[in-house]
Symmetry: C2
């Protein structure tokens, strides 16, 4: 295969397999090229990925070595994505009774969802995450988008047990905002013991739901390495029960009477994960 | 930018923007290259995509012309994906009480989900689909995967109204297998009138749920152009209420006593969409 053909094929292979270690002999065999040529190809790809702001290739040396595509988002690219989210969310027609915001259209757009997932992943790639945990329903798409870039499975906590889940572990928790007692269930076979997980959800107010997930995950001896939410909102009535989370945007002020919403960037740019 | 760099950048751009018409001047400006060079690059990319079995580039001529990446799956690639799904589903440890199958692990794997979405999309790209409709919860990931390749939004039908959906339209329907009356709701602002939609779900037995979605979509004057399910199962007690669907696999026989499951390929290879 010619270099030009190889570059197309390898680029596609790498972006389809983020966070997977690929050995040089694998590429050599697949494209019928010497390892030295493959190395040169990878250098070109690495350079362009960096310039494009979509990540970089990490070389792992040694017998079990190879190359791994680490997805990342340049500061400039991240700024644009988050700015666009803020603008979209500030549209006053989103205001629903009770000061809630309609967000289904944003979460229904696969390219937006993919960008959101890439942002989460870019902050969590160094944490040895084994799986992404979310709660039904609205967090599911962004959890999958992040999991794709992290190359790990998604585990969905439900509010109601279903026969297709098999045996489940359930807990009761108090929702932060409404003070209601609610239930969460997780299929017993969905998670092994002592996994490293990150929790991803669309929205966090006081953090009662996220805290519920954390309690449920304790039953599986899981290690919560990171928490990511698309939007956080202030809750005047209550102190936040979750700390150490990352947010993309922050909903500051929803004024139903004046039909005005203020949305600013979250703590994404300041967030440092704990490794 | 050099040809080698351009090929990497353009390949990545195209796979990130399936089904989007991209003008040649856009690429020319972005990479600082003559239109003739861009055309040559596109010819190389098209050739490699075809050889790889992941689709092809469609040229649209004229003033508003350009190039569009049409995702597709070669017969060989599709065969392998579906065969692997069958093998995974035949694992007897999946059998749950009542003859149900545990599938959450398969639907929790983002690469599997992406492959499933690509298969659906490959059959629906010619149908001018405006949006993908699914029902919470298990169909959501495969609906997003298909929607990403089709470059359209996802609309999620729910079983319970939520305050964050705004005003909703709801219908009652009779579930095919259990004969119970159930409810489905869809946010009023999620769908415009007269859209072309495809319905995607994980599982279909008699088809009561899919039929419920169809009835709900009638309230929006939507045009159901295609129906895709990951797995179909036979229902001895009842005739199927949905025809003209595409399935990837077919669950033939679940014997809880003998702990045996038989899974064969669905009608994917025979399926012809109605255009």
């Amino acid at each position: 295969m010619k270099r030009s053909d190889r570059l197309v094929a390898m680029t596609n292979y790498l972006v389809e397999h983020p966070m997977e270690l690929i050995s040089l002999p694998f590429f050599s065999d697949m494209y019928g090229a010497a390892k030295s040529s493959i190395s040169e190809d990878l250098a070109i790809i690495n350079k362009v990925f960096k310039e494009d702001g979509i990540g970089y290739l990490e070389s792992v040396s040694g017998a079990a070595g190879g190359v791994k595509y680490i997805p990342d988002v340049s500061k400039e690219r991240a700024g644009k994505i988050i700015e666009k989210l803020c603008l979209e969310l500030e549209d006053p027609s989103r205001i629903l009774p009770g000061g809630y915001l309609f967000m289904s259209d944003i979460l229904g757009n696969p390219s937006t969802v993919r960008n959101i997932g890439r942002l989460f992943a870019s902050r969590f790639t160094g944490l040895n995450i084994d799986s992404v945990v979310t709660v039904a329903t609205k967090g599911i798409p962004i959890a999958y988008a992040a999991a794709e870039f992290l190359h790990v499975p998604v585990i969905i906590v439900r509010r109601d047990p279903k026969v297709t889940e098999g045996s489940t572990v359930s807990i009761n928790y108090v929702s932060g905002s409404s003070k209601k007692i609610q239930t969460m269930v997780l299929s017993k076979r969905s998670l092994s013991s002592r996994e490293n997980v990150c929790i991803i959800d669309d929205f966090m107010k006081a953090g009662g739901t996220i805290n519920g997930i954390k309690n449920l995950l304790q039953e599986f001896d899981a290690n919560v390495k990171a928490i990511g939410v698309l939007a956080e909102a202030e809750d005047e009535e209550e102190d936040r029960v979750v700390e150490d989370y990352m947010s993309l945007v922050q909903i500051k002020n929803v004024d139903s009477t004046k039909r005005h919403i203020e949305v600013i960037k979250g703590n994404y740019f300041e967030y440092k994960n704990r490794e």
